[in-house]
Amino acid sequence: MIKSRPCRGVGLILAGALLSAGIAASAAAQPATPNFEGVWKIATPTKTLKPISGPVPFTAQGRKQYEENKRLQAKGAYDDYDITLSRCNSPGTPRLMLTPERFKIWQQFGVVTFDFEWNRALRQINASNLPAQEDFIGRGLVPTMTGTSKGHWEGATLVAETANLSERTLLDDLVPHTVDMKVTEHLRLLDPDTLEDRITIEDPAYFTRPWDAVVTYKRQPPALFGEDVCLDRLKAHQPVFPQ
């Protein structure tokens, strides 16, 4: 997003002139959209999406699938429950937000693009009026790993609601979800160098109630990411997530 920086001195003079003339602020003078652009990295690396309080509120069905995932993990049968580990499949939403590596945020035309160092993965939040592209093949019926994220600004907070998520991903390294899951995120800057993502998970088939997790990120120096190709690591029998 191309920003303009109004001269503070001129702004103060102008504001004073407008007030003295009794002219109300124009409806067009909207507050500037917050700028999250930059390089970020998770403050406290974690493989699990931890609820703010208490354990994950599984339903019986959700608990059953979770225990099955643990069993498959112990067996090393990764492709049966975690195709990110077995195939370099996109971790999807919200698991991408747990990446231990860096990511960049870009904002353009109201679209927020997350560009991850890991495998050049991408996700986007559409906080504009731009329509999604025509899905000639899937007709919008085929869920995707990152889902469809529609966003809007509430003051300085970007609120993103993501649905149409493939059940082939996990919330983290074990917790399953269904295709009906909805993820709501509240992203905001706690300070210029700290970004917070409050993630709300709703999936009535697997969880008895919506539950929240919070992840924070610290701003990193500007940098170009190296070309990370997960499939090359997989082919070389190296970890999908670099240690």
Partner: protein, 327 residues
């Protein structure tokens, strides 16, 4: 003020393998289905005008008074025997809405969302001046080997087919959108297809050559007036520059000249002239040109997740393709 974007019923898509409809064949950089290299000289086919019919003189190409064309080289003879490439197709994009955001006035500001607006060239047979691509015999052999492998039903593996970054030329050529994010020290191109990334370094001191070669190579750019000149080299492996495998050796270079064009017709575009400099396969450098229309409405990408299929442990990691013989 928010800009409203009307919902559109069509978007530009390349339909690989579609029925033979090559739209926009007259636009710059399109690859018309011309004669095979070496067939016919600048004055047209030999033999003069065809015989008159029904007493009237048929209009035709004027007789060739120039010297006879040189005999085809061994490379040209080899390429003349190849089957024609499939034609690309392109749905025309609707015009920009009247209230669409437009590119910045600064020619150095390439920020925006762009989309290759010409039919995909399955095989770059001719350069931007409509001259045959200047293959030497080694280059012709490589292309022939690749084209015939597909014809024979035993196609060779290549980066694109196995979900690897395909190199800058093919990455840009695909009719899927990309965004450009410039900064002081580099310019980043982020592509929908292959969730690709092309990074152009403006200050090598801030982003030196990586220790390991990369599929997309290492690209260094500088501004020449309003044109960004980018030299890409140091590729991890030899490239297929298009579907049929127009080759670039691992030691080859691509020099890209990128500029914004705005003719005041509410249809700004990016022009990229790519010069292919590869003495391994070509007798001289040669250039192709592509244009990319300004498309803010394509900023929202469709998800591209080829790893789900290619990474499937139950199928071959090479997607059933055969390894290409080394030269």
């Amino acid at each position: 003020m928010r800009t409203e974007f009307p919902r559109r019923s069509l978007k530009g898509l390349a339909v690989a393998g579609a029925a033979a409809l090559a739209l926009g064949a007259g636009s710059a950089g399109a690859q018309p289905k011309g004669p095979p290299p070496g067939a016919g000289g600048p004055g047209g086919p030999p033999g003069g005008a065809p015989p008159a019919q029904d007493g009237k003189i048929a209009l035709s190409a004027p007789p060739n008074f120039g010297p006879p064309p040189p005999p085809p080289t061994p490379a040209e003879q080899l390429l003349a025997g190849l089957p024609d490439p499939q034609p690309g197709a392109m749905f025309p994009m609707p015009p920009l809405p009247a209230d669409s955001p437009m590119p910045g006035a600064d020619p150095h500001d390439l920020r925006g969302a762009w989309h290759h607006n010409q039919p995909l060239a399955f095989r770059m047979q001719r350069d931007m001046y409509d001259k045959p691509a200047p293959y030497n015999l080694e280059g012709a052999k490589v292309l022939a080997r690749r084209v015939n492998s597909l014809k024979d039903g035993k196609p060779f593996t290549n980066a694109s087919a196995v979900c690897r970054p395909p190199g800058p030329q093919w990455q840009r050529d695909l009719n899927m959108p990309f965004q450009i994010f410039p900064s002081k020290d580099w310019i980043e191109f982020v592509f929908e297809e292959y969730h690709g990334r092309w990074q152009v370094v403006l200050d090598p001191a801030k982003a030196p050559r990586p220790a390991q070669k990369e599929y997309m190579g290492y690209s260094v750019g500088h501004w020449d007036g309003g044109t960004l000149v980018v030299e890409s080299s140091d590729f991890k492996q030899a490239l297929w520059m298009d579907v049929d495998g127009t080759p670039l050796s691992a030691n080859g270079k691509l020099i890209q000249r990128i500029r914004k064009v705005d003719n005041g017709d509410h249809a700004p575009f990016l022009e990229i002239i790519t010069t292919i400099d590869d003495p391994t396969y070509y007798t001289r450098p040669w250039s192709v040109v592509r244009t990319f229309s300004w498309e803010p409405s394509l900023s929202v990408f469709s998800e591209y997740n080829c790893e789900e299929q290619i990474g499937d442990p139950s199928v071959s990691a090479d997607a059933g393709l055969l390894p290409e013989p080394k030269d």
